[in-house]
């Protein structure tokens, strides 16, 4: 199952001998199919290279299209050609060796020193290139020049590939070792090609179009051209053509080979298809996001998955996922047959409807589909050691994932609940780690297929296992929005409920015990809340603002800090003292109770909560006027040069910044006023005050003024003729002309304001799109740089090479989830 036997992989350059050895056919005809549409022998689709058409048999191994993986061929280049990717390295070797005696430019004495060093040292090629005289034969070194992609000059004279190849082959293995090349595995002359390996047809399959025409792969096209020029070169040499013609053809051959390897080689014109589309050659296949490495090798595709739209379900625990019947029927989980469950396995195979077995795998590992015809036979032959693949049922585990997968909580293991409908459902409280909402989001479901994977999912990847994020130790699943409001109503002082109300509340949360009665037969909110807490919990928050003693809330009301995002102190306390399961339980119960509280008490907001009055109007005007004055003052000081210039900025920049700070501050003043004048009796005001949703700024924008709009972090200034939009007078310096909006959303915006607002909105939308790209790349770099770093059993932090990065993780070895910031 695993590639356990691979110990290491060594890279080297293929030798011409090796190419000839692996090659099954020497190709000579620069063509593909003959007139009858049959592959030409010795052509590029030679049937010895494997077959791709169904029905044909490979002439080398006799396999059919499916079973034969293909075989390499080769073609002999009539004149050697430099491998473009190795050209630079060949040049470095040339610089490091004598052009007369082909010895490395290191004296015998120094070679000995290098060789005798503990782990054999390598002479730096960069240093050798400056040596003017050979230490062995004393010859003065000629001036070497390399021009991209494959041109070499010695004392201004062009060196041809064959003489370079000669040079390379005369360097001894011992000398090569001095500059770090292992002559046993790689000879530098192999970098100059005399034989070109031709990949099997399976690598470059031709496709038959609807009209019966064949269309060849880009690689085949390129190889045809290489062969065509090679053939012409051979004919011309045989015919004794003048040297110039031969040289031209030789260079053309070099061009085709260069583009065959890399059609993006700098300094080389791009080889194009007939349709002028650039050809995708070898390097394209490996390179980049869609290349072999990132797309196929680092990215694995898997089976046993499902993807649909998600929606919320308040009746699910955070550990559950609702799965549609249709999905549960198609996905399977392996059931290992043992003495203990063989009866159940037989029963599943025998079933014809939903929870049934779809496949069985016998002890030899042969998979068989359970069909009507073999059902009885399978039931009788099944034995321990077999595996039955059965449809998903409630409580199976599945990995649930939403992209972008930014952190480990983006893939969690949920318990399946097969539910009606076509969507997958999750608890609303479990959306935060996925950053999911239900406006059309889709998510992926994976069914683990080995016992190890199932165990790992079940015991390490449940939402309850990862409630606390290692980022800052805060919970990622918590009570939000109406839950916060409900908890406030429930636990603030003097809240009492009738027995009926309490019963319905607790019943909805699945609790059947009533708390103690408090006063005249009523129940206090605090004691109801206490029922939800784990037994014996002790907790204190911010110096006694909230106190829980022995599982009873005795002081304070529950706020965002306690159960909400960001801090979630109580949730963390429960996690540490009682474990994740208790947190999930608490979140589930509290969510439902708070919903019922909000429902029983009634909670609503309307336009009248946002109504403005004369006082607010007056204050708004005052703030706007003050802002205007301040801006004017700054303008005056800018004009008469009395403004103190901020370090690092020009006059203008300082002015802009000061005015921006002043106009931006207006909203802050509005916030202060609103906070002062509104009371929490106003439900609309209560929401941001509790931190349930939104901020006071939204209030200010609705009933005071919208405030400063900004583009690129500054006031809006760009425009023609010294104005942002033609509405304004030229060179208008007032805050309004630069994006300060004095109207509120309640008043409505004037056309000029509407435009300014749209400019700000557009900037922020574009900004968001840009950040995702930049931070996505940052994340990729971080992951690549750090992915091998892990904690060793002695708590030291090490990388793949075993180097110690930290002697003890984080200097104390404590997991970050247990720390509070």
């Amino acid at each position: 199952m695993y590639a356990e036997s691979i110990d290491s992989i060594r890279f080297s350059v293929v030798s011409p001998e090796m190419i000839k050895k692996v090659s099954v056919a020497k190709l000579a005809i620069p063509d593909t199919y003959n007139e009858d549409g049959y592959p030409i022998d010795g052509g590029l689709i030679d049937q010895r290279l494997g077959v791709i058409d169904p029905g044909l048999r490979c002439k080398t191994c006799g396999g059919r299209a499916k079973s034969c993986m293909g075989h390499f061929g080769h073609l002999e280049l009539i004149r050697p050609v430099i491998h473009p990717e190795f050209a630079r390295l060949v040049f470095m070797i040339m610089q490091s060796t004598c052009d007369n005696c082909y010895r490395v430019l290191v004296s015998e004495k120094n070679i000995d020193i290098l060789r005798s060093a503990e782990d054999e040292q390598i002479a730096s090629m960069a240093k050798l290139k400056s040596i003017k005289k050979c230490p062995h034969c004393g010859a003065k070194q000629k001036k070497l020049k390399f021009e991209r992609p494959t041109f070499f000059y010695m004392d201004g004279e062009r060196l041809k590939s064959d003489s370079i190849k000669d040079w390379m082959s005369k360097i001894s293995d011992n000398d090569l070792a001095v500059i770090g090349v292992d002559g046993n595995t790689v000879r530098p002359e192999w970098a100059i090609l005399s034989v070109l390996i031709v990949p099997p047809v399976n690598v470059r399959p031709s496709i038959t179009l609807e009209n019966g025409d064949r269309s060849e792969d880009d690689l085949t096209h390129k190889l045809v051209e290489v062969m065509r020029i090679n053939q012409r070169l051979e004919q011309d040499i045989d015919a004794g053509a003048p040297q110039i013609i031969i040289d031209d053809l030789w260079e053309l051959l070099q061009y085709h080979v260069t583009t065959y390897f890399n059609n993006e080689t700098p300094g080389v014109p791009v080889a194009r298809h007939r349709s002028t589309r650039p050809l995708k050659t070898l390097s394209h296949r490996l390179k980049g996001k869609e290349g072999r490495l990132r797309y196929n090798l680092s990215g694995k595709r898997v089976n046993f998955t499902a993807r649909t739209v998600i929606c919320g379900d308040p009746n699910l625990s955070i550990n559950e996922v609702g799965v549609a019947q249709t999905i549960a029927e198609r996905l399977t989980t392996p059931m290992h047959v043992t003495h203990w469950n063989i009866e159940k396995a037989k029963e599943l195979i025998d079933r014809r409807e939903y929870p049934m077995a779809t496949n069985v795998i016998n002890s030899e590992g042969v998979r068989k589909r359970v069909t009507e015809s073999n059902r009885i036979e399978l039931v009788s032959s099944i034995a321990p050691g077999w595996i039955v693949e059965r449809q998903l049922v409630d409580n199976d585990v599945a990995l649930f994932n939403r992209q972008p997968t930014l952190h480990k909580m983006s893939i969690m293991a949920h318990r399946i609940r097969v539910l009606p409908g076509k969507t997958m459902r999750i608890s609303v409280n479990a959306t935060t780690p996925y950053n999911a909402d239900f406006d059309g989001d889709e998510m992926n479901l994976h069914i683990p297929q080995s016992i190890e994977a199932i165990a790992e999912a079940r015991y390490m990847m449940r939402p309850t296992d990862v409630i606390l994020t290692p980022r800052d130790g805060s919970p990622v699943m918590y009570i939000d929005e109406e839950g916060i409001v409900g908890a406030y109503f429930l636990t603030s002082s003097n809240t009492y409920f009738d027995k009926d109300e309490v019963c319905s509340m607790l019943a909805y949360a699945g609790i059947s015990e009533l708390p103690e009665q408090d006063r005249d037969g009523r129940y206090s909110g605090k004691s109801i809340f206490s029922v939800l807490l784990p037994k014996g919990l002790n907790y204190e928050e911010s110096g006694g603002a909230v106190v829980i003693k022995d599982g009873k809330l005795v002081e304070g009301f529950i706020r965002k800090q306690t159960i909400g995002g960001g801090k979630g102190l109580l949730l963390k306390k429960i996690y540490i003292d009682y474990g994740g399961e208790a947190v999930a339980d608490f979140i589930y119960k509290l969510t439902r109770v708070t919903y019922m509280v909000v429902y029983a008490r009634g909670f609503t907001i309307g336009i009248k909560d946002y109504l403005t009055n004369q006082n607010i109007q007056r204050e708004s005007k005052k703030i706007v006027e003050e802002t205007r004055e301040q801006a004017h003052k700054i303008l005056e000081s800018y004009k008469d040069r009395s403004m103190e210039i901020l370090p690092g900025y020009s006059n203008r920049e300082t002015y802009e910044m000061l005015v921006h700070a002043a106009t931006g501050n207006a909203r802050g003043m509005g916030v202060k006023y609103i906070e002062k004048t509104f009371s929490t009796d106003n439900m609309a005001f209560l929401i941001p005050t509790l931190g349930a949703r939104g901020g006071i700024q939204n209030f200010v924008q609705m009933l005071m003024f919208i405030g400063q709009q900004s583009v690129r972090g500054n006031r809006i200034t760009r425009g023609y003729s010294g104005r942002v939009i033609p509405y304004f007078k030229k060179n208008d310096k007032s805050p309004e002309a630069k994006g300060f909006i004095a109207s509120s959303f309640m008043d409505g915006l004037e056309p000029k304001e509407f435009y300014l607002h749209a400019m700000g909105a557009r900037d922020s939308t574009m900004g968001k799109a840009l950040v995702t790209a930049v931070s996505g790349y940052l994340m990729r770099r971080l992951i690549h740089a750090l992915q091998d770093i892990y904690v060793e059993s002695d708590l030291s932090v090490r990388n793949a090479a075993g180097d110690i990065i930290q002697p003890i993780y984080g200097s104390d070895g404590i997991d970050t989830i247990y720390e509070t910031l």
Partner: protein, 344 residues
């Protein structure tokens, strides 16, 4: 007991955890260098650009800045600190000029010094002249009020004269080189100074400053002056600063891990192509990251061996990864195996 349970688990891929913690937060950051809202005292690159600057280990930060403190005696007195500001701020001849005239043919130049600028920095015309004559023995100086006439002694080529004059105007009169702008700030009744531009070595040579409490945001200066350990601390500090400005929290251990990884070899290595990710031992890991072809070609030519120890390589060859539960093997003694009977 308590600590044992809170211990980090064996095999935990803390590198990935760190990368995710930082990467996930960076998605929510703004892309522009904004200035801490309200009153601005100095330019600082903040947010995502600064984070990238740190992780890329850029040789010079876009906005180098220093914080310099003084002993209580000086620090409690605004005037004294202002005096220090004059000592530290870099002053060049050009910044004292009101205007200048030069005649390159005749080899003369008249520098009209700005009276106010001189007074502000307590520099006399005499001092400017001394400075110039000391460093440029080839010129003759004479002054008249606030203007200084410069005359080249020898007849030289126009080009040479011009270079000399340009150099004279760029000559530093006082202060520490590289400290372009200085502002006096106060905290808790004590005054300190913040600068634009950074020169740790130069500032440390100023006697009056408190050498134990000087800070620069240029980690390479810290590396060169105080060594890697200090540079590591600087990276941690700067990263935490970025998140603090963004008003998001992140556990220091993540910043520490990155800083430790970056400085592990005794120099500051960047995250990315030319640093940590590009220097990996494994050919596959490097090829899967960036510059695929280059890595394969070099690996082939120098007969490199991939020992398949890291994560990326093992994913490529289809083997279980070498971190987390992938490091753990389950074993059972043969003797114990015999005890297990299927009938149990």
């Amino acid at each position: 007991m308590e600590t044992k349970r809170n211990e980090i688990s064996y095999g935990e891929p803390v590198g990935v955890v760190t990368a995710q913690s930082i990467g996930e937060r960076s998605t929510q950051m703004v892309l522009r260098t904004f200035h801490s809202a309200g009153i601005v005292s100095q330019v600082v690159t903040a947010g995502l650009p600064r984070l990238i600057e740190i992780l890329d280990a850029r040789k010079k930060p876009k906005h180098p800045t220093m914080t310099i403190t003084f002993d209580k005696k000086i620090a409690s007195n605004y005037e004294d600190v202002k005096e220090m500001k004059k000592r530290i701020e870099e002053v060049r001849v050009s910044s004292l000029l009101e205007s200048f005239e030069e005649n390159l043919k005749a080899g003369t130049m008249v520098l009209n010094l700005d009276k106010e600028a001189l007074a502000l920095r307590s520099i006399t015309v005499r001092r400017v002249m001394d400075m110039i004559s000391q460093r440029f023995p080839d010129v003759e100086l004479s002054n008249e009020g606030n203007s200084v006439s410069v005359r080249s002694k020898k007849k030289k080529e126009i080009r040479a004269v011009r270079t000399a004059f340009v150099n004279i105007r760029a000559e530093m009169i006082s202060g520490v080189e590289g400290i372009e702008k200085v502002v006096v700030n106060s905290e808790g009744g004590l005054f300190y100074i913040s600068t634009n531009g950074s020169n740790l070595k130069g500032v440390l040579e100023v006697n009056e400053i408190n050498p134990e409490n000087v800070y620069t945001n240029d980690m390479f200066e810290i590396l060169n002056v105080f060594g890697v350990e200090a540079a590591r601390a600087a990276i941690v500090n700067e990263m935490m600063q970025v998140f603090a400005i963004e008003d998001t929290k992140i556990n220091v251990k993540h910043a520490m891990l990155i800083a430790d990884a970056m400085t592990q070899k005794g120099v500051i290595k960047s995250i990315g192509r030319h640093g940590l990710a590009g220097d990996k031992e494994s050919v596959f890991a490097r090829a899967a990251y960036e510059e695929t072809i280059k890595h394969f070609v070099n690996a082939a030519f120098f007969s490199e061996t991939d020992r398949l120890k890291g994560v990326a390589e093992n994913i490529i060859i289809g083997r279980q990864i070498t971190v987390g539960t992938g490091r753990v093997k389950l074993m059972i003694k043969n003797a114990d195996l015999e005890k297990v009977k299927p009938e149990d």
